[in-house]
């Protein structure tokens, strides 16, 4: 039985294409959320796969999925995008132009709102140490299991757990601070832009119109 990684390690281009198709969007999603930058995230995707090709000989037969290994490479690229870009300077010079303005206006509007959310999330992430941030984004946002995150980061599983726990402590503190700040602030901060409740219908106002007789017991 062939191990799924053997073709990849042997440098089979089609195996590599499969790797790209299966994981490009995962890497992209992770990169957008971590960098908050769509164009940069595309570069991170390219760099991650160029690095994966370069390092394919190091892919070991641990588990059935190359996902932890690949995400480990992505984490390294994200840690130092400049260094990775330098290593692949010639290749990156040929990189396809960054995503131009999206075709649809509503997508553009969506992106502007997304940009605000991304910026806010990045600010909160900035309160975590890098090691906590990496574990948090891999496990909570990108959905890696503890063992996968441990393999990706090259740390013991226990370390993943303790970093997550520290991240939680910090985020709780951060949430508490924000709550206090919001309470102090007496002026109404936001205008409620949510649609008003439909008039005439109040919670709990619905009642059963008719009850089948046969279901009532005497």
């Amino acid at each position: 039985m062939n191990h799924p990684h053997s073709r990849l390690r042997a440098g089979n281009p089609e195996a590599f294409r499969d790797l790209f198709r299966d994981h490009a969007s995962l890497v992209y999603r992770h990169a957008v959320r971590v960098t908050g930058d769509w164009a940069l995230a595309e570069d991170v995707v390219s760099l991650t796969f160029l690095e994966a090709w370069r390092l394919r000989g190091k892919l070991r037969d641990e588990g059935d999925s190359p996902r932890p290994w690949l995400m480990g490479i992505a984490v390294n690229v994200l840690r130092n995008t400049t260094r990775a870009a330098r290593r692949h300077a010639a290749a990156m010079a040929r990189t396809p132009a960054a995503d131009p303005v999206p075709d649809f206006a509503d997508e553009l509007v969506g992106r502007m709102a997304d940009s605000e959310r991304l910026a806010a999330a990045r600010k909160a992430l900035g309160r975590l140490r890098r090691s906590e941030r990496e574990v948090f984004t891999l496990c909570v946002w990108t959905g890696l299991g503890y063992a996968e995150a441990a393999a990706a980061l090259g740390v013991p599983v226990g370390t993943v757990r303790s970093r997550l726990s520290r991240a939680r402590t910090r985020l709780r503190k951060l949430a508490a601070e924000e709550l206090r700040a919001a309470k102090k602030n007496t002026e109404p901060l936001k205008k409620n832009t949510e649609p008003l409740p439909i008039p005439g219908q109040v919670p709990g106002s619905r009642s059963t119109a008719a009850r089948p007789h046969k279901e009532t017991h005497r």
């Binding site: 390690r9 909160a124 726990s165």
Partner: protein, 351 residues
């Protein structure tokens, strides 16, 4: 959105974490962008085809150590392998991993360190070693088994699996720029190239031959090649270990190389160790403080020739239980040959 079923088994605090700092957006890589990136990456890797993949010889941080299994276990494994190998030879098939052997941990000691190092050094000096001429290759054939997996945190299962013992052959040019690796079942059929424009010079024969014959100066030279946050003593020990395992050491340098090892802090003598072929010997060893693995280099008790190596987990780490033999090797042939993929014939100089 596709939810991973794994999440159900994750601890509860995940939900809280996600609430504390929700993923800000659900970005989607548009299909046309993905196609474009795919074509770009694919064309780049075709262009880089002449650049070799990173050598699999250098294992990642969490590298398995080499440890000799008990004779009985090794013999049993050897039978399994010899029965299983004919079908597997020359294919891409990955032999099924086997449970790692477990041995009794024998304490190391520094009592005999100086005398053992002297004996090994003296024996190495007395042996003549062939010299690779221009265009020739250093050839090393060994029998190896490395760790494949250990702890599965998702299931909580903790079992260490290793590759069944198998053959490994390497060819290396003396400057390290050219090479070939054949490890049937673990590398592409026929082997893979180790050609590289940027060889790790300290692992090349040429670099070794140019080293000072004074142990202290040599040791300083080895330490100058290590860096980073990992234990530098362990890195130096591993560096020399790689040289001794898969390199040809010029005989006039061998003595000072072994004397240098004896001066690395933490190096001990383990009285009884076995290589991957079950050959019993005495070992120079060092416990990696970060991984809890003890790397042992096994030498023949009488001739003091290097036999192979093994890695024994001494302290539990990452679910690997103490006593687990996570890595072992046995050197079968060491020689100088005229070309890549050529095996030493009768009458050819071997070391």
């Amino acid at each position: 959105m596709i939810r991973n079923s794994r999440r159900r088994t994750e601890p509860l605090d995940h939900a809280e974490l996600a609430r504390l700092l929700p993923a800000p957006v659900e970005p989607r890589l548009a299909a046309d962008r993905q196609d474009l990136l795919e074509e770009y990456v694919m064309s780049e890797i075709h262009q880089s085809d002449h650049v070799p993949a990173a050598s699999p010889v250098r294992r990642p941080l969490r590298r398995a150590v080499l440890f000799a299994a008990p004779v009985a276990a090794a013999a049993a494994l050897a039978v399994v392998v010899s029965m299983g190998s004919p079908a597997g030879t020359g294919t891409d098939a990955f032999p099924r991993p086997v449970k790692a052997p477990v041995v009794q941990i024998e304490e190391g000691s520094t009592v005999q360190l100086a005398s053992t190092v002297h004996e090994i050094a003296a024996a190495a000096t007395a042996r003549s070693t062939p010299r690779p001429g221009p265009g020739q290759y250093i050839y090393i054939k060994s029998r190896v088994s490395f760790m494949t997996t250990s702890h599965n945190a998702d299931t909580g299962e903790s079992a260490t699996w290793v590759q069944p013992l198998h053959d490994r052959e390497v060819w290396k040019s003396s400057d390290g720029t050219k090479g070939w690796l054949d490890e049937p079942g673990y590398q592409a059929k026929g082997g893979i190239t180790l050609d590289t424009d940027e060889p790790r010079k300290q692992l090349s024969y040429q670099w070794l031959a140019a080293q000072p014959a004074d142990p202290d100066a040599l040791l300083k030279s080895v330490y100058s090649t290590v860096s980073g946050s990992r234990d530098h003593d362990q890195q130096a020990f591993n560096e020399i270990g790689s040289i001794i395992r898969e390199q040809l050491v010029p005989s006039d340098l061998a003595a000072s190389l072994y004397e240098a090892v004896g001066r690395i802090p933490g190096v001990v003598v383990v009285e009884h160790a076995q290589d991957a072929s079950g050959r019993d010997g005495i070992a120079l060893a060092r416990l990696d403080p970060q991984t809890g693995e003890r790397s042992e280099w096994v030498f023949d008790r009488e001739t003091h020739q290097y036999l192979g190596s093994r890695g024994v987990q001494v302290r539990e780490f990452d679910g690997i239980k103490p006593g687990t033999v996570v890595e072992r090797t046995a050197i079968l042939t060491r020689a100088v040959v005229d070309a890549k993929n050529q095996r030493p014939g009768a009458g050819q100089a071997t070391a």
